[in-house]
């Protein structure tokens, strides 16, 4: 407990919260998007495909700036979020979560999509002959079979949320206790001539968190694989 200062503990706790919720909220959308991209046949699919990859291609600072333009308090979406739902993203933990989610989205979608494409469509057909509707097939056959991919996507999401810096600082800035995640703290530390020790400590914390989630993921993964008979 003495390893880190109270502010650092705050940053760690905040990072974990942001990473968890960013992953939690983006997963369903990622699954949906992956499904649409892998199975859908509609005009504009390629465009959607491109849009999904944008947060990866653009410098994260630009992503943050675009978030600011759209979801900020005066943004073209943000103002209605505030006026209609009372949701304020800028300068808040919720905003940091959104930034993390947006940045990790392409990674998650990609992982899930690859897993989805590996699902044997013959099994889906078989399920339908057994009376399952498309939706039912999705939940009872497709989804379980792509669980390893979803897990892998979730892991990527958590990892990239833990490391996310550029979009977060540009969109929600650094407000103590609200948006100061580990990377922001590390960033600050590396910009102080005497910050090396602190940067190192926080980096180690990041590493430990990452290895921890990886370990957890690999345990879950093994179970899933045994469950779906791909051990």
């Amino acid at each position: 407990m003495d390893m880190l200062t109270p502010e650092e503990w705050t940053a760690v706790a905040l990072s974990l919260r942001v990473a968890f919720w960013a992953t939690f909220w983006s997963l369903p959308f990622a699954v949906l998007t992956a499904w649409v991209l892998a199975r859908g046949r509609f005009p504009g699919r390629s465009l959607l495909d491109g849009l999904v990859y944008l947060p990866l291609v653009l410098p994260k600072v630009v992503v943050g700036y675009l978030l600011l333009l759209s979801l900020g308090g005066r943004g073209f979406i943000g103002q209605y979020l505030d006026a209609w739902f009372g949701i304020k993203l800028i300068f808040t933990t919720a905003g940091a979560t959104v930034a993390a989610a947006v940045v990790s989205f392409p990674l998650t979608v990609n992982a899930i999509r690859l897993a989805l494409e590996a699902v044997d469509r013959g099994l889906e057909t078989a399920a339908r002959t057994l009376g399952a509707s498309r939706l039912d097939v999705f939940f009872s056959v497709t989804l379980p079979l792509m669980l390893p991919g979803i897990l892998s996507g979730a892991l990527l999401a958590i990892a990239s949320a833990l490391g996310e810096f550029g979009a977060t600082i540009t969109f929600v800035s650094n407000v103590e206790g609200q948006t100061r995640t580990i990377p922001l703290a590390i960033y600050s530390a590396t910009h102080m001539p005497d910050g090396d020790a602190m940067a190192l400590r926080l980096t180690l914390v990041s590493v430990v968190l990452a290895l921890g989630s990886l370990l957890l993921a690999s345990v879950v993964d093994r179970r899933i694989r045994v469950m779906i008979g791909r051990a």
Partner: protein, 234 residues
């Protein structure tokens, strides 16, 4: 080519000025200079890692002290031709003139949820100076929860430009390039350590080509450029 052309490490806030000066230098002497603009901290660490730069222009005396202490730059060559002043800005449409003194009621000024954007107060120079100024004005503890620290003075500026932040504390040079932003007050010179841009030649790079450009950086043509971008020329 890399041997002929000196590489200048300059703080990102010097981007405009140095690029103009580099162009003037080329016109005058026919010689090229290469620049790398990044955070002073990043540049200092790159020097430490053996980056073959010739000149280091820091936005912050602390990082110059750091490279000196590590025996990376030549202390004897240190010059500080320019400085900057710290200003309080507001979006143009809500701007109101204020007087910054210890009696100024920051909380009344900011209202219920107004925020002040500036650089990260522990690492970005503008933020560090803002913290010092607010402290000396006795307002830091009150204002602290309202401070949002951006990754650079430019990012803080953007928050004010967009009206996301109620006010901002940035350099006057930053304010000069902003749109829709009004300077509502300048922090008293005594309220914070003076903002300085020390330049030094990197150890082992003190050759004629380097010297020539180093001297040009403090010459009259350069000073005209600094002034144009709002730096305080000494």
């Amino acid at each position: 080519q890399a041997q002929e052309t000196p590489t200048v490490f300059a703080a990102a806030s010097l981007t405009n000025a140095f690029q103009d000066i580099g162009r003037l230098y080329k016109e005058k002497t026919g010689n090229d200079v290469a620049f790398s603009f990044a955070a002073s901290s990043a540049l200092a660490r790159q020097l430490e890692a053996g980056a073959p730069a010739a000149i280091f222009a820091s936005a912050d005396a602390k990082w110059m002290d750091y490279t000196e202490a590590k025996d990376l730059t030549l202390k004897a060559t240190r010059v500080t031709p320019i400085g900057n002043s710290l200003v309080l800005i507001m979006p143009a449409d809500t701007a109101k003139a204020v007087t910054l003194d210890p009696n100024f009621d920051w909380l009344a000024f900011l209202g219920a949820d107004g925020r002040i954007a500036t650089g990260l107060t522990d690492s970005v120079p503008a933020g560090i100076y803002a913290k010092a100024a607010l402290t000396s004005l006795g307002a830091w503890e009150k204002v602290r929860p309202r401070i949002v620290g951006a990754e650079s003075a430019r990012a803080a500026l953007a928050l004010v430009e967009r009206g996301e932040a109620f006010a901002g504390i940035v350099y006057s040079t930053d304010a000069a390039i902003a749109k829709n932003v009004t300077v509502v007050a300048t922090f008293p010179a005594g309220s914070h350590p003076s903002v300085e841009y020390p330049f030094e030649i990197v150890k082992g790079q003190d050759n004629t080509a380097t010297r020539a450009f180093f001297n040009f950086l403090t010459g009259p043509e350069a000073k005209a450029v600094y002034a144009k971008y709002g730096f305080v020329v000494k």
